[in-house]
Symmetry: C2
Subunit: 284 residues, 2 copies
């Protein structure tokens, strides 16, 4: 498998992340995952903008994001994924330097790592739905940035897995926020409810796509806080993500959501989502 | 420089952390820093116990901590630090495996990395004191574990540096908790005040040493929450850490603490601390 690391394309086993890398020592970096549909990058610019925003917030300088698209296509090509279903993983850290909490000296070069992997869409999961649990949110106060400071996300996801569930939904101060690796929307009174963006919610790109699809599909959308104690009243719950796309959550904490099967709004949005990914134009 | 990596002693530039390492991807690991005084490890067992506790809390299995002391001494030896002032850095992650939020398959081998570095004690800092700023605590909810989920700590430390200060003290809900890489104690009415251990405070090993020294030095100690709005009433503030030992904080947010110079209790505890490190016996 050929990957990209600090300016070079090389076999993955030849990558040597330094033990001084601030990604390894301090979780000091950002990442993103992009979907390629038959070799076509989906919402590339939005992912790039989010990376740029994260770098700006963390004040990681000296990365030329403009070159990443070419790298992405090169990775797809090198790994025989030019026309395949695939994902791209991108990670940028503040670089490798003598360990110190404070930022490294100016001129320290950020670490840039990228790889492309073949992807098998979770068709059954989207069709049949998945279950989730609600867990207390122990994450830090800047979940609006897509950083690699992800330990609590992994712990929550594992907790879901051990409970026989697919996702963990974070609750804080009675509010349902987002999943351990997804955005979460709710349906009540036939309207789509979407928690407002705060420092505890990542501006999900699939979330944006779905909100825009809801509008074209004439589904009412209300941006408003969603409460843990409303769960019994939700007709549907939708889990959104770059690889999941739209997965209906049919059970929460072991209790059926609505009728316990994927609902009308989830299915309608899934169809609309499928249309736009099928219509994706190849790069000119 | 010879370091230890997954069972081998090798030159640091030959270490290749995998891009799949969960330390690099998810901050999924623990670390510790131990001081060697003239080649003698200080409070080794306490550091080891803390590492063991962290591994248990994160459920990282399959690391034999018993072998680490031999590795530590070997690192000191290989780097000519057998009789030197030095620090040991130890990091253990959940290992390298296909990226997935949930824990890797059973049998995945944790990554163990260790290095020894010569250390120059910050004599002037301890003598003259340092300044600090108070910053809002944006960290996650398990700061009682010494994990590498440290992005907010680096951001806070950098903020202090840019404000001309040496340390950032985290405040949450009006409580002063700890520094970005230190424990913090306070002095009021000639007594040492120590914030009680919670999920937002690391059980500092230097903190334990100092509390015990306070007892032998007949300094009153009160374990109680310390408030941000008490700052003006503190006679002294003490910053504690493995490498700092005891550094008097003489200014907070640009305002003098007490008389603005290192206080009586800090100096008394520094003397007592120096005595125990000078009396350290060599390994039998």
């Amino acid at each position: 498998m050929v990957v990209f690391f600090n300016g070079e394309f090389l076999e993955k086993e030849n990558v040597a992340i330094s033990p001084d890398d601030r990604g390894f020592l301090f979780a000091d970096g950002v990442y993103d995952v992009v979907r390629a549909y038959r070799g076509r990058l989906f919402r590339w610019q939005e992912h790039l903008d989010r990376l740029a925003h994260g770098l700006k917030e963390l004040r990681i300088e000296g990365v030329s994001l403009g070159g990443l698209e070419k790298i992405a296509f090169q990775l797809l090509k090198e790994n025989g994924l030019e026309a395949a279903e695939a994902t791209l993983y991108l990670q940028i850290t503040r670089g490798a330097t003598l360990r110190s909490h404070r930022f490294p000296p100016q001129g320290t070069i950020p670490t840039v790592y990228a790889e492309a992997n073949p992807f098998t869409p979770p068709i059954e999961l989207r069709k049949k739905g998945a279950s989730a649990i609600i867990v207390p949110d122990e994450r830090w106060g800047r979940c609006d940035i897509k950083t690699i400071n992800l330990l609590p996300n992994t712990m929550a996801n594992q907790r879901a897995f051990e409970a026989g569930a697919f996702e963990a939904i974070f609750a804080r101060d009675g509010l349902l926020l987002e999943g351990s690796h997804s955005s979460i929307l709710f349906v009540k009174d036939d309207a789509l409810l979407c928690p407002p963006l705060t420092n505890f919610i990542l501006p999900g790109i699939t979330r944006n796509v779905v909100l825009s699809l809801a509008s074209t599909e004439s589904i009412s959308v209300h941006i408003r806080p969603c409460l843990e104690n409303e769960v019994a009243e939700f007709q549907e719950i939708l889990m959104l993500g770059t690889t999941s796309e739209i997965v209906p959550i049919t059970k929460v904490n072991g209790i059926s959501v609505g009728t316990g099967v994927p609902g009308r709004i989830a299915r309608k949005l899934q169809s609309a989502f499928r249309r736009i990914t099928q219509e994706l134009k190849s790069r000119s």
